[in-house]
Symmetry: C2
Subunit: 405 residues, 2 copies
């Protein structure tokens, strides 16, 4: 039989490692012939827009460079499948395309939207008595999927955040004046990635001095008094703040609200970091800077976590074995067996358990003041960022694997 793999949602450093895992799993299996790559996520199956991956990934170096290439080789989509009762034609379409190409299993690498797709298609196949297997492979830097200890992609993003915040701390500490540096970190709903800045403490760093997650109530007044308190003992204050914290508009001086904060419909204005920067400048009157780690935190594969990349590849291969063993409608997940030594096993759960659900940062891992995380959070995150990939450079720049220019 043939198989098809697709990638969906926002880029990470680990999605191509999972793609490689699926590909290598298929190579090892005598039952699998062609590995198709569906372009633009599920859309490539709906529109029958696929490539034969075996024609592109041919050598050892192809695999090495694919593993270290960020983002999605097969592009992506934000397409959400309609409810089957609203539009069964799309589902028929998918089944017919897969059958026509002799495809016996479909692997979807993505976030919780994609797991919804896995769930819907596998349910439809069951209804239709169609034997094509559908398996979901999770990925997201947000780490907010349920039923898994962590998600592929999170460890690398966390390693980037921790390393970069440490470098920012060095950079911000050189002048003998008071300063506040606000680092805005991704995570619209959950604080997992922002919390990763805390792991610097494992190396004796005190910074970041304050950490704010969406799971804790945020108040501008407490924020300002937190800073003033830290300033009593140190010159350069470094703050990690999630893009997803909620600011009460009434807490923000009108002039700043009108000019910089985008929570209020001003889409062309800036994010929460810039807004807080302006509040600090006005209220505390010291040197202040905000830094958005922006998409670098999800695509800086030159600094990926070896643990994350290896696990992401393994979970891709495990998905192939799961399909071959007859499973369908499942999402592959990690279970952490032990922290010391760090040990995970790969298992699977029903896609319906994962689809459309969000796993929040545990409130008990946030301190009472809501401005830092606890030791437990550090213990949880630290194993996920261990190890560095041996990156292949050409002309001083990491080698990327591409389908074309």
């Amino acid at each position: 039989m043939n198989i098809v793999v697709a990638q969906s949602g926002g880029p990470t450093c680990a999605i191509n490692a999972s793609l490689l895992g699926v590909f290598k799993g298929a190579l090892k299996s005598k039952e699998i012939d062609i590995v198709f790559g569906s372009l633009n996520g599920i859309e490539g199956i709906i529109n029958d827009d696929m490539i034969i991956l075996n024609d592109y990934i041919r050598t050892y170096m192809d695999m090495e460079s694919l593993r270290q290439t960020p983002s999605t080789l097969l592009n992506s989509c934000r397409y959400k499948l309609p409810d089957i009762n609203d539009d069964i034609e799309v589902y028929d379409n998918i089944m017919n395309t897969l059958k026509r190409r002799g495809i016996g299993a479909f692997f979807y690498i993505g976030g919780n939207d994609s797991m919804d797709t896995v769930n819907k298609i596998s349910e439809y196949f069951t209804q239709q008595d169609c034997d094509i297997k559908v398996i979901g492979i999770p990925k997201t830097i947000d780490n907010d999927l349920t039923c898994t200890d962590h998600t592929p992609g999170y460890g690398s993003a966390a390693k980037y955040v921790a390393t970069t915040v440490q470098e920012i701390v060095r950079d911000c500490s050189v002048y003998s004046i008071n300063s506040v540096t606000i680092v805005e970190i991704m995570g619209r709903d959950t604080g997992w990635l922002t919390a990763s800045a805390s792991v610097l403490r494992a190396n004796g760093e005190i910074a970041p001095h304050l950490i704010y997650l969406p799971e804790a109530r945020f108040s501008v007044q407490s924020f300002l008094s937190d800073i003033r308190r830290v300033q009593q003992s140190r010159r350069a204050v470094v703050i990690a703040v999630s893009e997803g914290i909620e600011l009460d508009p009434n807490d923000i001086p009108e002039e700043i609200r009108n000019n910089t904060c985008d929570n209020f419909g001003h889409r062309y204005l800036s994010g929460v970091g810039k807004c807080l920067e302006n509040i600090v400048r006005r209220e505390i009157k010291c040197k202040v800077r905000s830094i958005e780690l922006n998409i670098m935190q999800r695509c800086s594969s030159h600094l990926s976590s070896k643990t994350d990349i290896e696990e992401s590849e393994q979970i891709g291969t495990a998905a192939v074995y799961a399909a071959l063993s007859g499973l369908s409608g499942k999402v592959m997940v990690f279970e952490r067996v032990s922290n010391n030594p760090y040990t995970v096993v790969i298992s699977n759960v029903d896609a319906s358990e994962v689809a459309n659900k969000v796993r929040y940062f545990p409130p008990e891992w946030i301190n009472a003041q809501g401005n830092d995380v606890t030791e437990k959070a550090i213990e949880y995150i630290l194993p996920l960022i261990q190890g560095e990939q041996d990156i292949h450079y050409i002309n001083g720049i990491p080698l990327h694997f591409k389908l074309g220019n």
Copy 2:
């Protein structure tokens, strides 16, 4: 005799490598006893605020970790020495401190302001018949110092910019809609660092599709028509733009000018990238994002250029030999002997030649349309970003060398 070393100006990844070079040069010399570190640049000499570096840098791993620590171990300052006719007391102060501590040579690692300091102090010492040597060691990610082929710190920043822009290109190419991504790169006066994004072409990348430097005249109308032209052949347009380009206020729609551009006195608003983002969104009406590489481009030592770090260390050591050979009032510089194989020699020039001068990006390396650089620029930059440092990690995070927390 003893010596003293100080660091000044904005952080880079290479300033501590030059500090290490001075330190190791001193260790090798039988004539030098103590290496003092002046805290906060020249201010530490004026205020007699120094540490004995030999007490801190004791082991091989101290040296290894210092080399890979970004920013300035000894802090920094933006202090500019007054003219000697305006305030001779400061100069007397400096001389007395150095004499009292038995210091025979002062090494100042910094940008063109610092080279002005080197020049002034050495002239004063000559007047006073004081035999203390003063040597400047250049550093700046801006690469805008005269009399040297390039500056320590530039190669690492250029490697970061090129690597990161390549990762951004991968990230931005996944969706099947038109998009424009504007990467804002440091360089208030010169385009050297922005130009480094062009080296991706050496690996067959077409992006960045447009490059704008301060040395070329910038027009919003040409910018928009450049984008529209590129969009005829590709979906995802990636643009490298220097923070230093000058926008004509009359070119900017009033609403955007009032809300986001900081060139006009609105210091709490955003930079040129955000301003251009808003213009593109309004005029071209496609998905658009601006990304500020911010201070990460000067402090991401986890991704430094081995060539840059090795040269930065060597030029520090060479400065010690220069002082021991009797030179003073000099700045150490690189001369490029050959590009293939890349070969540089370290020599020196009078500090007065370097002080307060700016070296601009050569206009002949900018294309006729003013929206890209030529092959010559790529040939110049490429050797400077070659090689990667073996970074030591502890707990998955680069090991940094610190004097305290």
